[in-house]
């Protein structure tokens, strides 16, 4: 099959921006290109031009497009060592000075990290003192996150991660099996606010003690990463924590000098300058 040209990618991003007000023009090129190819294959669309036509003509198709264009592969307790540091060092440090802890899951996708957080906070006995806001640009994926339904196959991996996290229970205590699907205990997220929010276009909407955005900005190019990091900086209380994925780094970012590294291995940063 012929390569999708950069010009094609730009054309698609332009149509989406003009008609639907989502801006993908600064997404990282190679993964975005693979997503477009995947969409062409998945919906059996013969060419980029045909895709552009369909996006222009059919607004209901755009919702399906949105689900497929973003990457929604995630795990509960991905990088168990990170979750241990969060439990043993970071959350206790925040609770030392606050009665309430405010957390933003930016780009929460299908919600695995939100449930991991809720489980960890419950095991620490501070879930009721926590205010969690989970956002994603895709409202379909937010519905999935809220429902807390996961395939049993994925739960095997999640269980393995949980064991490495060394939680004080079994992951099985937090879900029930219903019709071959794992359904998470809904009380875990009863106080979580799931909201539609686009990191690219969205405004800063609140202040937090902790912002989690792991393996989301890897889909952005560097200039967009800089823009989004400015928003995170603004969304944090002074001495609040920013956490990114284990292979992401602030080194090349404009805003790096306003953060200090708390844990380099787990990519935990602390805002120390306004």
């Amino acid at each position: 099959m012929a390569d999708i040209e950069i010009a094609d990618i730009k054309k698609i991003a332009e149509v989406v921006k003009r008609k639907y007000n989502y801006d993908f023009t600064n997404y990282a090129m190679s993964s975005f290109k693979r997503r477009i190819q995947r969409i062409l294959d998945y919906f059996k669309i013969s060419s980029v031009d045909a895709l552009i036509k369909r996006l222009s003509d059919d607004a209901s198709f755009f919702e399906e497009f949105l689900v497929e264009i973003t990457v929604n592969v995630t795990e509960m307790f991905r990088d168990p060592s990170f979750w241990r540091v969060l439990r043993d060092d970071i959350i206790p440090a925040i609770m030392l000075n606050h009665d309430k802890i405010r957390i933003w899951h930016a780009g929460c996708s299908s919600g695995e990290e939100v449930f991991s957080m809720a489980i960890m906070l419950r095991e620490l006995g501070v879930l009721q003192n926590s205010q969690l806001i989970a956002t994603d640009l895709d409202k379909e994926i937010l519905k999935r996150a809220k429902s807390g339904k996961y395939s049993l196959k994925n739960m095997e991996l999640n269980e393995k991660n949980y064991i490495r996290f060394q939680g004080n229970s079994s992951l099985k205590d937090y879900y029930s099996e219903q019709k071959g699907v794992a359904v998470m205990d809904p009380s875990l997220v009863e106080n979580v606010s799931f909201r539609e929010h686009d990191l690219v276009k969205g405004e800063v909407f609140n202040k937090f003690d902790l912002v989690l955005c792991r393996n989301v900005m890897i889909y952005f190019n560097q200039s967009l990463q800089n823009e989004v990091l400015k928003k995170f900086h603004e969304s944090l209380f002074k001495f609040g924590y920013l956490i990114i994925g284990s292979k992401e780094s602030l080194i090349w970012c404009d805003i790096a000098n306003k953060f200090i590294v708390v844990n380099n291995e787990e990519k935990i940063y602390k805002k120390f300058k306004d």
């Binding site: 390569d3 950069i6 990282a28 090129m29 190679s30 993964s31 693979r34 997503r35 990457v71 592969v73 995630t74 991905r78 990088d79 060592s81 393995k160 991660n161 490495r164 393996n215 900005m217 890897i218 889909y219 190019n221 560097q222 990463q225 994925g245 284990s246 292979k247 992401e248 780094s249 080194i251 090349w252």
Partner: protein, 197 residues
Amino acid sequence: MNKYDLSNRYKAIVIGGSAGSFQGITRILSSISPDFNIPIIMCLHRLKHVRNGFVEALSLKSVISVTEPYDKEPIKKGKVYLAPSNYHMSIELGNYFSLSTEDMVNNSRPAIDITLGTSGYVYRDKLIGILLSGANKDGALGMKNIKNKGGMTIVQDPKECMIDTMPSAAINVTEIDYVMKVNEIISFLNELNSHYK
């Protein structure tokens, strides 16, 4: 008398490997010249949930220390890079890495096809792709992409491989310029490096 028609036009070397490739890789990394001046980009199948240890094990024998790049890290001469566990690693126009957590490809993350395919796209005829021993077909399509863009393709001699599925798959889907034993790959790389002085 030089055995291969080489020049200093190559911008990168990309190496894929899986089951049975560890020994070959360590032999290559321990035998290349310490002043090796072309970036070596490796995508090797590895345990998904063991984040540490592999890069250290490779660095132990390597004459150049091996690093797992961060997302958007620039690619530099004289460096050896390894795709980190549980991420796909792509090369972007502008000569830097990007990482992703997309679905597994060929049951693998990192997938060799992704690293090889994106390298081929970026470096075109200035790339050398090397595929070593392995038990599945990941990497074969990546080698095809490299060849289609005018790059050079090399596979480890299937007769020498512990498991030859991977290089044989590449031989079946695309033109391979050289079939080499690990020793020949080493002298090839060192001869190539001599063009950069």
